[in-house]
């Protein structure tokens, strides 16, 4: 079946008010869930699986995939407005989105995030439709050594997150990597650093740590400088970025969309790593790298373009091979099975209506997301004018319920509070917290693939596997280059 035939089939499934309504509901639920810290894409989709049980298989999957794609955008809203990433990948969006809000340009931040998400999402889906099968086959060929190299490439992006103090960023990422080792070792089955507590067998989960480090800590920071006086209302500009500004970042959006899709394809990599890598690349390619971290539109676009496009990428292995590529994919796989369907090559043959229906619904979901986002931004932005004395208590309440919702465990709530305190102390002494998240996200991927690679072929594999060697070399250079530049800069200033 060629491209247009499949699109025709796909859109014919969507005819009628019911599928369209389902997509609209899915997009709205996705945006809201994404904006809610704690309801990450995988949790949001998982919590709605039971609902979809009673629907027809096509409608159920359309609903869930619409939620999936929209929630990746939704995370950016709270990240930009209140520095509280709603989804893990939006932690990267917050790096530049929140400074924009502080400058009174929340509208620009939200607008950039929305457009980058839409374009990224569309590119991801287009690549999914066109090349799902061949791409999935290529991704399978990557060996543990290659995955290790890719993960290290992700780790190397820490060098650009130092904001002047690389040692502190390194200490933060190593702290993240170290605490990620807590729990059962996935390779040997031995429990590590659990101190005999079975609460720690699964280690610290990402979401509570993320909410604590980003959201709860902000409240503590604000409390330290609390004067009790009501805040003078900042002027909030809800103006969108101008066309000229969009033209300036169009290359960033395109590049990050491709990066996001490609990284999304690798099972286990995912949106957060995609966002970190794309942010790092955008900074390196930028004409104004010094703007990054201070409210760069490119930074927001790089993060959002990458995390939204990674959805299309992550669906590649799921639909083409039946292999879940992300945590959300794993939930979707279960949803397929609930309806007695098995994703994979046979699904294309036996139920093309479902496969192409999903594809086309994703395209439509992106368009609907753009419309709802453009309209909704006006309302979202009002959050900024909520008095701080009401906003901060609510952030804490959201943080608590959000960490609890991840797996219904009070331990996660305690972890969230603990990470809130750690985040406050880190911020107080100028240690960045984003690298901790990066360490937690990549810790398992680095370790597992390193050990797998060595168990399979010994230490020499990192030199004999050409691809791994090249990627390792690139990660080394991308790590050293910013350090060298800042050292030279420092020298020049002194001399």
């Amino acid at each position: 079946m060629d491209f247009f035939e499949s699109l025709t089939l796909g859109f014919s499934v969507l005819l009628g008010w019911k599928p369209i309504l389902i997509i609209i509901i899915g997009v709205i639920v996705g945006i809201l869930a994404g904006a809610m810290p704690g309801l990450s894409p995988s949790t949001a989709v998982a919590l709605l699986v039971p609902f979809s049980y009673t629907m027809s298989p096509t409608l159920a999957l359309i609903l869930l995939t619409s939620i999936y794609i929209a929630s990746n955008y939704g995370g950016s809203i709270t990240a930009v407005l209140i520095n509280t990433p709603g989804t893990p990948s939006a932690a990267v969006t917050a790096l530049d989105g929140y400074p924009l809000t502080k400058k009174g340009q929340a509208g620009k931040g939200l607008g950039t995030a929305l457009v980058a998400s839409t374009v990224g999402g569309a590119i991801g889906v287009a690549i999914l439709i066109l090349f799902a099968v061949p791409l999935a086959k290529v991704a399978l060929k990557f060996s543990p050594a290659d995955y290790f190299a890719l993960a290290l490439f992700g780790l190397a992006t820490v060098a650009s997150m130092g904001r002047g103090n690389t040692l502190k960023a390194l200490a933060a990422i190593l702290f993240g990597l170290m605490i990620k080792n807590i729990g059962i070792d996935p390779i040997s089955g031995v429990s590590r650093f659990t101190f005999g507590s079975d609460q720690l067998y699964d280690g610290f989960t990402l979401i509570p740590a993320l909410i604590g480090l980003f959201a709860v800590s902000v409240v503590f920071v604000k409390m330290e400088s609390w004067t009790g006086a009501p805040r003078v209302m900042e002027k909030v500009d809800n103006k969108l970025p101008s066309l000229a500004e969009f033209m300036k970042i169009k290359m960033t959006i395109l590049r990050s969309s491709v990066i996001g899709t490609v990284i999304g394809i690798f099972p286990g990599a995912g949106a957060t790593i995609a966002a970190f890598i794309s942010y790092d690349m955008a900074k390196k390619a930028s004409k104004t790298p010094e703007e990054f971290g201070k409210g760069s539109l490119e930074g927001v676009a790089a993060a959002e373009g990458a995390n939204s496009s990674s959805v299309g990428g992550a669906l590649v292995p799921l639909l083409a091979l039946g292999i879940p590529g992300s945590a959300t994919d794993a939930v979707l796989l279960g949803a397929f099975m609930l309806h007695d369907l098995v994703p994979g090559p046979l699904l294309f043959q036996d139920n093309p209506d479902i496969v192409y229906g999903i594809f086309c619904s994703l395209i439509l979901a992106n368009i609907i997301m753009l419309l709802i986002g453009l309209y909704g931004n006006r309302f979202f932005i009002k959050v900024v004018s909520v008095p701080e004395a009401i906003m901060y208590p609510l952030i804490l309440a959201i943080a608590v319920i959000g960490s609890f919702a991840v797996s219904g465990s009070l331990f996660d709530v305690a972890a969230c509070i603990g990470f809130g305190v750690i985040g406050w102390i880190f911020k107080r002494y100028g240690f960045p917290v984003a690298p901790i998240v990066l360490g937690i996200v990549l810790g398992k991927m680095v370790e597992e693939n390193f050990r797998r690679a060595v168990m399979m072929d010994g230490f020499t594999i990192f030199f004999t596997d050409k691809l791994a060697f090249i990627v390792l070399l690139i990660s080394f250079l991308s790590f050293v280059w910013p350090l060298y530049k800042s050292w030279k800069h420092h020298k020049a200033k002194q001399g």
Partner: protein, 318 residues
């Protein structure tokens, strides 16, 4: 004649009515069915299917509650910390036993009422259809040629599948390396990508994945349906692997009221005989069964011994 049949039907209806009123004491409120994964996990799908089929045979309402964490320990501890009123039951699998053993005696399996073992799923060695080595004989020859360097992929060391792999190597007189991946999905991806020669799982793993095939199955006789061509280990001349299973069932805390016990026994038997349930289970190459508390507890004891032995030899347990 017609009248007679009608009378018979009425009598039957009354009889079933009587039986059900006799048991009406349980349940009086919705029953929580605890699942140890998040929604969408394999056991979650199983539990939800169960409640859908059970709804045909009882008016009782089941609510699926996901309590994920630590490979099922969180869910089992939750059950054991509640009152034994019969309103909280959990879906369990054999891998939970491995987890219970690996955390070292923190959960007493004697406190658990092993209500019913409902599905047995034969263990299978799965290969990549497109690889040069894909039949059992080729696999054995390749393993001998590689002298212990043949790669098998699967979930973490010390789990169900790893232990099955070690048993298989011993029985077949070969040596190989176990490279663990995070879960079945990623292991199968590695197998499809040619990074390993074999994966240990269950027949349902190959459904919908035409690149994979079952090379040998650890059941006493061949399976039906699409697995009719798959040889058993016995046929391949490998002894001692004709009944290796992965099971699924239900548990509660010990000491639930007698009427609750009777209710579940009756319901599990009815579901076991339901054609929709049978079709659902058999589609995945597994078989529906119904083992009551005593038989089930004996299976658990046997599994505990096996896991303890294996985990000690791997150094996970001291």
């Amino acid at each position: 004649m017609k009248k007679n049949i009608l009378a018979l039907l009425v009598a039957a209806a009354m009889l079933t009515g009587l039986i059900s009123t006799a048991q009406a004491a349980f349940p009086e409120k919705p029953i929580k069915l605890i699942v140890y994964t998040k929604p969408g996990g394999a056991i979650d799908v199983f539990a939800r299917k169960f409640t859908a089929v059970a709804a045909k045979h009882t008016d009782a309402t089941f609510v699926v509650v996901n309590k994920s964490g630590a490979g099922g320990i969180v869910a089992i501890k939750y059950i054991l910390n509640q009152k034994a009123d019969g309103y909280k039951i959990a879906a369990v699998t054999r891998s939970n036993i491995g987890k219970i053993v690996s955390i070292g005696g923190k959960i007493d399996t004697n406190e658990i009422n092993w209500m019913g073992l409902m599905v047995v799923d034969p263990e299978a060695v799965i290969t990549n259809r497109k690889a040069k080595v894909n039949t059992w004989d080729q696999l054995v020859a390749d393993a001998k040629a590689k002298k212990g360097k043949q790669i098998w992929v699967g979930p973490a060391a010390g789990g169900n599948d790893h232990i099955m792999a070690m048993k298989t190597w011993k029985a077949a007189g070969i040596e190989a390396k176990w490279i663990p991946y995070a879960g079945g999905g990623k292991s199968m991806a590695a197998l499809m990508g040619g990074h390993g020669i074999a994966y240990v799982g269950n027949p349902q793993d190959v459904i919908g994945r035409p690149d994979l095939k079952v090379a040998a199955i650890a059941s006493p006789k061949r399976l039906g349906g699409e697995f009719a061509n798959v040889p058993t280990f016995e046929e391949l001349g490998v002894k001692g692997l004709n009944n290796e299973i992965m099971w699924r069932g239900f548990m509660s805390k010990k000491g639930i009221p007698a009427e609750a016990e009777a209710f579940y026994l009756d319901l599990l038997n009815k579901v076991n005989n339901d054609p929709e349930w049978k079709a659902y289970i058999e589609k995945g190459g597994a078989s529906p069964v119904m083992m009551g508390a005593e038989e089930f507890a004996a299976v658990v004891e046997k599994d505990k011994k096996e896991f303890t032995r294996a985990l000690k030899s791997l150094g996970v347990l001291k």
